[in-house]
């Protein structure tokens, strides 16, 4: 349940990344991966995100994924197939899909 909007600002709770995740921590290597990891950090309330970490394993759920997709489209100006985030839910896969979408948009539109 959500509280009343604007009724006092609660600082976002930032949790440390769970060391027991199935993925090893791998730092972002490109600017895009860095931007995406930051977006996830804010959305999930985590202190850091590895590019191979699974969105759902990090505590994401399907409703949050829907909002993240819209945010990604608005931030990067590209359309990413929804299956990428739902079925390959890592920063690395998402970055690859955005790159692909950017490369393809000139030729297709």
């Amino acid at each position: 349940m959500t509280g009343p909007v604007g009724a006092g600002v609660t600082p976002p709770v930032v949790r440390p990344r769970d060391p027991d995740l199935s993925s090893e921590y791998r730092a972002p290597t490109t600017e895009l991966e860095g931007q995406l990891a930051e977006l996830w950090q804010v959305r999930l309330g985590l202190d850091r995100i590895g590019v191979d970490d699974d969105f759902f394993e990090l505590g994401g759920h399907s409703l949050l994924a829907a909002e993240l997709l819209v945010e990604i489209e608005q931030t990067f100006g590209v359309t990413v197939p929804a299956t990428v985030l739902y079925l390959d839910p890592t920063v690395a896969d998402l970055a690859a899909a955005i790159d692909e979408s950017r490369a393809g948009s000139g030729a297709c539109d």
Partner: protein, 418 residues
């Protein structure tokens, strides 16, 4: 859930974990419920490290379903969410209490009320006749295989989804409904199966929403996108979650009603006489709903201390109402374990009650009426055969396999019994 044959088996006072899906597939929850209704109608049911108050009597079930101020839907409505926060709380219709719920529901209801769904009657009849077109003159058919396809075929028209996606959507809805069942389970197990189905459906609806945003549309998805609650549109997660819920709500429930009823009529030997007599389909549909009780339970949480069935419940307690139990309550239904095609009155709670009464009730009733009408017109006799298998689920009371031997009518009177 296993629908017990008449006469019912002996009562079962022994504790049985009703939160275990296997119980509902292979054991006899009715024996437990019957004992509970007589001796402990509202009782604490432990499951693992958690537990819930189990509610079995018709009157108490109705109180829980109708009093949304005492029994909230915003902390999860299914046992799978017990002990976990529900991300859909306040966003999905089923997980939202009035007054917000009322404002979300009204526009959707406008597309699903009796007058609105009547416009779809020819489409529904065409879908049903297509499903029944391959019946052999004489032979074994799987009723579950036939009817499991109906809800997606009908809902996809109302939601504006392409016909080409029917098979995929049917498979995904079955994976989501019965992830414990080997028929649909992926090699990596039930949790992976449910996750895969859930995420594929969300991704699917996300792409559909995008199309609707580009091209517009006055279907149910378009309605969700246009919906304004207190001056604000639904957020993207809420739109998807409601798409998911509408499709699943129909897929879980509708197929199992004719399947359960026809299996019982085959078992009792009454099918031939009944189908030839031209029964009142409105009464038959209600009895089939009672008999099947395809949505088996709902979860609520108390918002304050309350007394239910003479039992003191604390605030914040999980409460599970068993619709299958309420619909066999001896104090409401005479001979509850007998399928009475013209039972009247029939105050079953198969479609829920109160603010969350099934939003698709008119559509469901039209689909079911059409199914019985067309089936009776084509099939002279239905006989039981071995191999009926129940869904392993605490929520979906139904069948993965329901083979019966059918004999077609010889006279060419297809096209409606009346």
């Amino acid at each position: 859930m296993r629908l017990i044959p008449a006469p019912p088996g002996p009562d079962r006072p022994a504790p049985l974990d009703l939160a275990d899906p296997a119980i509902h597939a292979t054991d006899d929850p009715h024996a437990v419920w019957r004992w509970a209704r007589a001796h402990a109608p509202v009782s604490w049911q432990p499951t693992g490290e958690l537990g819930f108050w189990s509610v079995t009597r018709h009157a108490d079930v109705r109180i829980v379903l109708r009093d949304h101020q005492t029994f909230t839907s915003e902390r999860g409505t299914l046992l799978t969410l017990l002990g976990k926060p529900d991300p859909a709380s306040g966003r999905q219709l089923a997980a939202t209490d009035p007054p917000r719920h009322t404002r979300m529901r009204a526009p959707l209801h406008g597309q699903l009320d009796t007058a609105a769904v009547a416009r779809h009657a020819p489409m529904i009849r065409a879908r049903v006749t297509a499903l029944l077109s391959d019946l052999p003159e004489e032979g074994v058919v799987d009723l579950a295989g036939i009817f499991n396809r109906l809800p997606v075929a009908v809902l996809s028209t109302l939601m504006g989804l392409p016909d080409a996606d029917w098979d995929r959507l049917t498979r995904l809805t079955m994976m989501a409904i019965a992830p414990d069942d080997e028929t649909w389970q992926l090699p990596r197990g039930p949790v992976a199966t449910l996750q895969r189905a859930h995420r594929e459906l969300f991704a699917y609806f996300q792409d559909q929403v995008r199309q609707r945003q580009r091209r517009g549309g006055d279907d149910l998805i378009g309605t969700l996108l246009a919906l304004q609650v207190d001056g604000a549109a639904l957020d993207p997660g809420a739109v998807l979650s409601n798409c998911y819920s509408l499709l699943l709500g129909a897929a879980v429930t509708v197929p199992n009603v004719p399947t359960a009823a026809l299996l019982e009529l085959a078992r009792s030997g009454d099918y031939g006489r009944l189908s030839a007599a031209g029964p009142r389909l409105d009464l038959l549909v209600e009895e089939a709903l009672r008999w099947a009780s395809p949505a088996n339970h709902f979860l609520r949480h108390t918002t304050r201390e309350t007394v239910l069935g003479g039992v003191q419940l604390p605030a914040g307690a999980p409460v599970v109402v068993w619709l299958g139990s309420a619909n066999r309550d001896e104090s409401v239904f005479a001979d509850p374990y007998v399928f009475v095609p013209d039972r009247q009155p029939n105050r079953h709670v198969a479609l829920g009650g109160g603010a969350h009464y099934c939003i698709g009730h008119a559509l469901a009733r039209l689909m079911l009426t059409t199914v019985f009408d067309e089936f009776f017109a084509r099939v002279a006799e239905v006989r039981p055969v071995d191999g009926v298998r129940h869904i392993r689920s605490t929520f979906a009371a139904g069948f993965t396999h329901a083979p019966v031997r059918v004999t077609r009518r010889t006279s060419a009177c297809a096209g409606g019994a009346r």
